[in-house]
Subunit: 343 residues, 2 copies
């Protein structure tokens, strides 16, 4: 199917004919590899201009074996945390002439290997954010994917640059903060059970509980979105806890809303903390105490690693960002009469 003679888009052959040179020469002129008679180059340029010639990107990609595009795979494009990564990655990549193709796996870990394979074929590399992909899948897929940069998915057995967040330390710091405020009964709203970052939070929390001893830490299924957070409000109140660690800011914000509707006051009746420090966390009612995660920096650094890989250079060292606790108004000492260890 050879494209019904388009009226538009001049080809290199047409330019060559019009300029009375060979296609090779036109190609050389356009790639600054032309060394001969300057008047020839000039003529080619002029004719190309007249014909509004512009090299066909696909043909070029095929001949060159590179597309100058990379894919970004994320579990949920609607999540501000991933949007921040996308936005900064895209900006950084574009400065080097690369474009990014987005792929939203829509939280479906099972389809991810296929998605990732499909998307990889369309570009030169992939930046993968797959917190929930089983290790086995990741391992099997990683080889076919390279160049590959992993986000939030450190994996010692995979030879790919990795940027991640130390969720364990972040949640620990948050818990420590609540503890110092006087809370002794805290509930953690879990994220997706299979997710690595959920695992890390759980581990961090377990270590914390073990260390301080006199704290009651419960976990409850939460979710990842604002709606999920709203839905947990009743369950949270039912625990009788004086503070809650939400899986992320979205859940925390939803929870704030849900609690408000139930008539519970934050932080007087119950303290709430989030995770990520999305841009709006400081504008919630009340402003949300959370662990700040540098997603924008993450995107930029991911690009640096990727660029090195694409150039065949040695990428910088892997990075683990330590979240920083942002103290705001959604956490406060527990009210008297609540928060006693009840069992």
């Amino acid at each position: 199917m050879h494209m019904g003679r388009r009226s538009s888009a001049a080809t290199i052959t047409e330019v060559a004919r019009a300029a009375e040179v060979s296609a090779a020469t036109v190609s050389r002129v356009f790639n600054n590899r032309f060394v001969g008679d300057p008047t020839v180059a000039e003529r080619v340029r002029r004719v190309a201009g007249e014909l509004a010639y512009t090299p066909n990107h696909t043909a070029r990609s095929l001949a060159l074996g590179k597309t100058r595009a990379v894919a970004l795979v994320v579990p949920d494009l609607a999540n501000p945390a991933f949007q921040a990564i996308l936005s900064s990655l895209s900006k950084a990549a574009s400065r080097d002439g690369y474009r990014v193709l987005v792929a939203d796996s829509e939280e479906s870990a099972v389809d991810e290997p296929l998605l990732v394979d499909e998307v990889r074929r369309r570009c030169d590399a992939v930046v993968l954010c797959a917190p929930r992909m089983p290790d086995a899948d990741l391992l099997s897929v990683a080889a076919r994917l390279e160049p590959l940069v992993l986000i939030n998915r450190p994996s010692p057995r995979i030879d790919a640059p990795s940027l991640s967040i130390d969720y364990g330390s972040g949640i620990r710091d948050l818990a420590q903060h609540l503890y110092e405020l006087g809370h002794r009964h805290i509930v953690f709203l879990e994220g997706p059970p299979g997710s690595l970052s959920n695992r890390q939070r759980l581990d961090g929390l377990a270590a914390f509980a073990h260390q301080v001893g006199d704290v009651r830490l419960e976990r409850r299924p939460g979710g990842v979105s604002t709606e999920d957070g709203v839905a947990t409000a009743e369950r949270v109140m039912a625990t009788g806890a004086t503070a809650v660690l939400a899986f992320n800011d979205l859940v925390a914000i939803g929870l704030l809303d849900g609690l408000h509707r139930l008539g519970a006051r934050v932080p007087q009746d119950i303290s709430v903390s989030g995770f990520d420090d999305i841009p709006f966390a400081k504008y919630t009612t009340p402003p949300l105490t959370t662990a700040s995660v540098p997603n924008t920096e993450l995107g930029t650094q991911a690009w640096h690693r990727m660029r090195a890989l694409l150039r065949g250079e040695e990428p910088d060292h892997n990075l683990v960002f330590e979240p920083r606790v942002e103290l705001r108004d959604s956490t406060a000492p527990p009210a008297r009469g609540r928060g006693r260890i009840t069992d």
Copy 2:
């Protein structure tokens, strides 16, 4: 430069040789155009599986003359309004096997024509969100761009489906709401002077002022981001107005914060409204009165138009969404002693 013999990626020729058929046959099998001996098809499939063959997307695109990708060009990927469009567009497109390439013009209207041209060459079509591109530029690029879908940029002289928001009616409704609350001195925080949507707001406001008569409407330069909003707080207070219409939610949220720092209470001392109804608008302090804009729906509808175009079908009619006022707590009747018409 014929790619230093990659160890990976089997080619159709290799599969053909291994399966003892021609490349044409392999191609036909993979495209379900094979009608001959089923055992041949089976053998091809098996061999392809063994070799982990997967058709080269670029080569396919070149032969077919289509990439199955579309570009989305937006002025600022960090803005939740555009993120919503991207997210929904991407989801919708992926259901039809298309991917989206993002391009962030970083608010630079002058580079947009080049950017848009570049990005168009890489894919089959573009969804353009260019509120600030001069009409002349848009007109000149539009022809080269098609298939093209325009967002927030209705242009009667361009033959491309267009989805837009009636910013004029939205801001008018918001102003009307403030007026009914008793406000008679309102300040409008302008967005980018060259932007069409700013123009529409200005016109809507002018029509409103003319209609009601006894209202003092001032305009002040604002901006588009949260930071811009923070920075305007003092200027806003200096006007002595009792209510402010921010260009968008981001500015409104920033303003809320700025006012808070100045010790001004919202809505007691001054009412604030936003525009867009981004997901977080209802969680601000206080919850933000705003005009809701269906960005997610916009993205989905944009894809429907685009799909029709790509299939050579007639796209659905153009759409203009009317924003809907979302009454929340950031607006209230003015305090006594403020809001009198002072000149």
